[in-house]
């Protein structure tokens, strides 16, 4: 178990860990933004927006994440789009996770009684106002548990970025394997890092759940 404290391994581990956290936070923020927007599209009265939302979710939720990484990393340069690897990873992870966030929020919207929206409309609120001040605040509360699952999965999914030129924690594992350390010890340290990140997110969502819980 001592491998963490041998020749420069700690710095490698720390940097990898921070990179994973950074990648998860930024793509998580993108996913949340995208997810809310897409959910709004999917319930909007405009057919084009609805089709766009449905198309996005269908494509990104059903494509293996590795394939998305491959597409952004190897197809974009052919279209003369050259971006840093970290940005590419954020795009792939954010678009993928965004589709899951959208569906979690839409499931929440579906739990809000239709009468709520009708009441809001009869008060003279337009679609945007109905959504932002009546439906979404209620929907998000119900969507917290499924959102928790989505965001716990995100850091674990981010491990794929290690294969695409991002120095995240999982790529540290490959370096250590090549240096010849014991597989079991490597596994323990990497697993511990992911467990730590997941636990923090789980606790955060538990806290949100308690704060936002509403008796129906």
């Amino acid at each position: 178990m001592g491998i963490l404290f041998e020749d420069g391994n700690f710095a490698l581990f720390r940097d990898g860990f921070l990179r994973t956290v950074e990648l998860s936070l930024i793509s998580g923020a993108l996913a949340l933004l995208l997810g809310v927007l897409l959910a709004a599209f999917r319930v909007s009265p405009v057919p084009v927006l609805r089709a766009f939302g449905t198309g996005w979710v269908t494509i990104f939720r059903n494509t293996p994440l590795t394939l998305l990484f491959l597409a952004v990393t190897f197809v974009l340069p052919r279209l003369e789009v050259h971006l840093p690897s970290f940005t590419l990873a954020v795009i792939a992870l954010g678009s993928y996770t965004g589709s899951f966030v959208c569906e979690a929020i839409r499931s929440g919207i579906n739990t809000v009684p239709i009468g709520q929206a009708e009441a809001a409309r009869s008060l003279g609120l337009n679609f945007g106002q109905t959504l932002t001040s009546v439906v979404l605040p209620q929907a998000v509360r119900t969507a917290v548990p499924p959102l928790g699952s989505v965001f716990i999965a995100l850091p674990r999914n981010s491990a794929i970025a290690g294969a695409f030129n991002v120095d995240e924690i999982f790529s540290v594992q490959q370096t250590w394997v090549d240096r010849g350390y014991s597989t079991i010890a490597i596994f323990c340290w990497i697993a511990l890092a992911f467990l730590l990140i997941s636990t923090v997110i789980a606790q955060l969502f538990r806290f949100l759940e308690n704060r936002l819980a509403v008796a129906r």
Binding site: P47, R50, A51, T54, G55, T58, I59, N62, T63, L67, L70, A71, T73, F74, V75, P77, R78, H82, S85, G162, A163, F164, N165, S171, Q173, Q174, T175, V177, D178, R179, G180, T183
Partner: protein
């Protein structure tokens, strides 16, 4: 409702075809029509290696399971469509198998990626491994090696038009690509290059072809394979700056098998099979190689 579903379906089909079509360009499709020139190996019939648990198990099973790489043109390459494997490593694996008493129809190859080599050998999933496996002390603690059967060295692969990358020292400040976790990658730092890393060397070569990296680095044997595959576009610089003795990996402590594989390598080096196999595979890139002295340790 129905239109909505149709649109969604059409969109997803479109997207997937687009992705699939784009990927085609970078996928490995080495045309290796070398079958005619390859040597055939005399299978020994009176082999008895009862002191080797690995050999005994393989004999009882009736076939030999050999670990190999599948993505290295002219070294260890699998043509997935035709279900055939070709390359220099594959030939080494076959000539050793023949001397252990296993004919071509009794040899089964299994792709094992670099990171899983020690685990697969120690766990007995494969009987031995031939796939650009550098002999070093850290690995010797977990597995035993026969060989070396070839000595490669880290080199640089660049675009043919490139004239300013002439050797390792010219790496400074340049984007240099290698496979995640490899020793070659660690060495980029030493020469002050900017490391770029992907899962496979094929992906690095793709990045080199789209001008996103300046060079790809790993063992010259691997690079020569890619240069031969992309003739006219890429070249190997030709100044190796490390020594990578390639060995056959086998279960730690199986001295009887280790000696037998060493004897087999020696025999085929002496009778010219080694040279013939090299000429029909890596030799096609135009570069020659020397037979290294065996080192039984």
């Amino acid at each position: 409702m129905r239109t909505r579903r149709t649109i969604a379906a059409a969109l997803s089909v479109l997207a997937l075809t687009a992705v699939a079509a784009c990927g085609k360009d970078g996928s490995p499709n080495a045309a290796q029509d070398t079958g005619s020139k390859l040597p055939t190996y005399q299978v020994k019939s009176d082999v008895k290696l009862d002191g080797s648990p690995t050999w005994k198990k393989a004999k009882a099973r009736g076939n030999l399971i050999i670990g190999a790489k599948s993505d290295q043109p002219f070294l260890g390459f699998e043509d997935v469509a035709a279900k055939t494997r070709s390359g220099f490593d594959i030939e080494i694996a076959k000539m050793v198998a023949a001397d252990l008493g296993f004919g071509p129809d009794q040899v089964q190859f299994q792709t094992v990626v670099s990171a899983n080599r020690e685990t697969s050998i120690a766990g007995g999933q494969i009987d031995y491994y031939v796939g650009t496996y550098t002999i070093n002390d850290a690995r010797k603690q977990k597995v035993s090696f026969a060989g070396p059967y070839m000595v490669a060295g880290q080199d640089l692969l660049v675009r043919k038009s490139n004239t300013d990358i002439t050797g390792p020292d010219a790496m400074a400040g340049k984007n240099v690509c290698s496979a995640t976790g490899s020793t070659s990658l660690a060495r980029i730092d030493t020469y002050h290059g900017k490391p770029v890393k992907y899962d496979t060397y094929a992906q690095c070569v793709d990045k080199l072809l789209t001008d996103e990296v300046d060079a790809v680095t790993t063992d010259d044997a691997i690079l020569k394979g890619f240069a031969a595959k992309n003739q006219g576009q890429l070249k190997v610089v030709g100044k190796p700056f490390s020594k990578e003795p390639y060995g056959v990996g086998l279960a730690k402590g199986d001295k009887v098998l280790q000696d037998a594989i060493n004897a087999a390598l020696k025999a085929h080096e002496d009778n010219g099979d080694w040279k013939k196999a090299y000429d029909a595979t890596l030799g096609l890139s135009g570069a020659s190689a020397e037979i290294p002295p065996l080192d039984a340790s």
